[in-house]
Symmetry: D2
Subunit: 136 residues, 4 copies
Amino acid sequence: MIVHDTEIRVCYADVDQMGFVYYGNYLKYYEIARTETLRSIGLSYRRMEEEGVMMPVLKAGLTYRQAARYDDLLRVRVLIKELPKGVRMDFEYEVYDSCNRLLNHGFTQLAFMRASDHRPCPPPAIFMERLRPFFD
Amino acid sequence: MIVHDTEIRVCYADVDQMGFVYYGNYLKYYEIARTETLRSIGLSYRRMEEEGVMMPVLKAGLTYRQAARYDDLLRVRVLIKELPKGVRMDFEYEVYDSCNRLLNHGFTQLAFMRASDHRPCPPPAIFMERLRPFFD
Amino acid sequence: MIVHDTEIRVCYADVDQMGFVYYGNYLKYYEIARTETLRSIGLSYRRMEEEGVMMPVLKAGLTYRQAARYDDLLRVRVLIKELPKGVRMDFEYEVYDSCNRLLNHGFTQLAFMRASDHRPCPPPAIFMERLRPFFD
Amino acid sequence: MIVHDTEIRVCYADVDQMGFVYYGNYLKYYEIARTETLRSIGLSYRRMEEEGVMMPVLKAGLTYRQAARYDDLLRVRVLIKELPKGVRMDFEYEVYDSCNRLLNHGFTQLAFMRASDHRPCPPPAIFMERLRPFFD
């Protein structure tokens, strides 16, 4: 299992007139934390795209418990609990405030897709190499 | 049951470098369509907030089947299948392209909340009055 | 001269905790109105990109006089006062509320750029053909 | 004069289908860097709002020279060259990539406004106290 935390400071643009982070922006926070989690194990999502493999999202879900507010310093935890299965990969997310209260949690399921023809494909070899040690 | 369609034109800002609408932006499209659905039965979400009742989102889920692209004219269908239960209300969404292909679908569960003390509250009377005829 | 109005409804995602449209979102409104203005004279920005010409922005400016609010129905006026000069083209913008008060105004200067090598290029022939009748 | 640098990593949500950061997103980057610049001299924009003073933007301008791309680590430099004059305050911005190339620069002019009645007001005393040492 991989667990990685990323800090995200809530900016003014992301907060709505209730004074809460707009509900759709958490999918952006999940994306940022997902990229940093991959980087932490030596994988660059950017390079993977440049080499012709993209990861579109197939499914996403979010459960909101408490609202985040402007200027909050959030901790976004990403959990990878399993290796990719076939062409799919699951990520889970937990967003905490600076008092370690769980604000929301969610998941995304992504696919590996060839950029050239937009067809599903297996994960790149480097991807599996970097992930595998965490699942032995 | 209430079914209402809203057209949304995909703008440049909403599309990512894959050429697809960024996955988080659909929650914005859902919000726009939700507001228009309420407007279509004589309910103004804006006025409700001005009168002290807000509707934060408790849960959301999305299933992506096909990507929308820049300048696509989407049809976002909102389905309200049940009256609010207690302080909660469910909405379902279906996004179609101009060929009537289903691109993605999802749901949100919202709560009614008093702006004054951020406590859950029942839906305003006008809200139930406007909804009820569709569920008799 | 070309003058074209586009209506834009302010969504919840675009409003900040002051209750005002976030200042950066007007550049998105300008983009939407720019695209509709071109469409109104038979030009598709989408098709132009597909045919290999992009229009990145070189300069932008905005002057804010009054704030727009959630659910406001804005009228975004685009003014094209001159034909493209060389590889550049200027657009001006005026945003009005439903009482015809000017909320803000601005401009953008865009370039024509070949997608293949990211070099400046002249406007496509069709572009000039459609614009010219308005400037005779 | 105050000069302060803030690092911002470009996320996927912020990039358009040209592969460039969408032009409107730089106003968000400017906002993030402005907040961090104030924090660096002991000022919390959040606390100022909580104490009843807001800073809406009056004018903004941007000049784009090179595009930023996905996953770039940008350095956003904020320059405060003068103390607030009356109810207004100017900020300048320079965005650099990791090779220290200037990608774009811009400015914003903000006003101090009382939250209670939305009227212009002088900067809070603490604000001037923290700024003044940099301009002696």
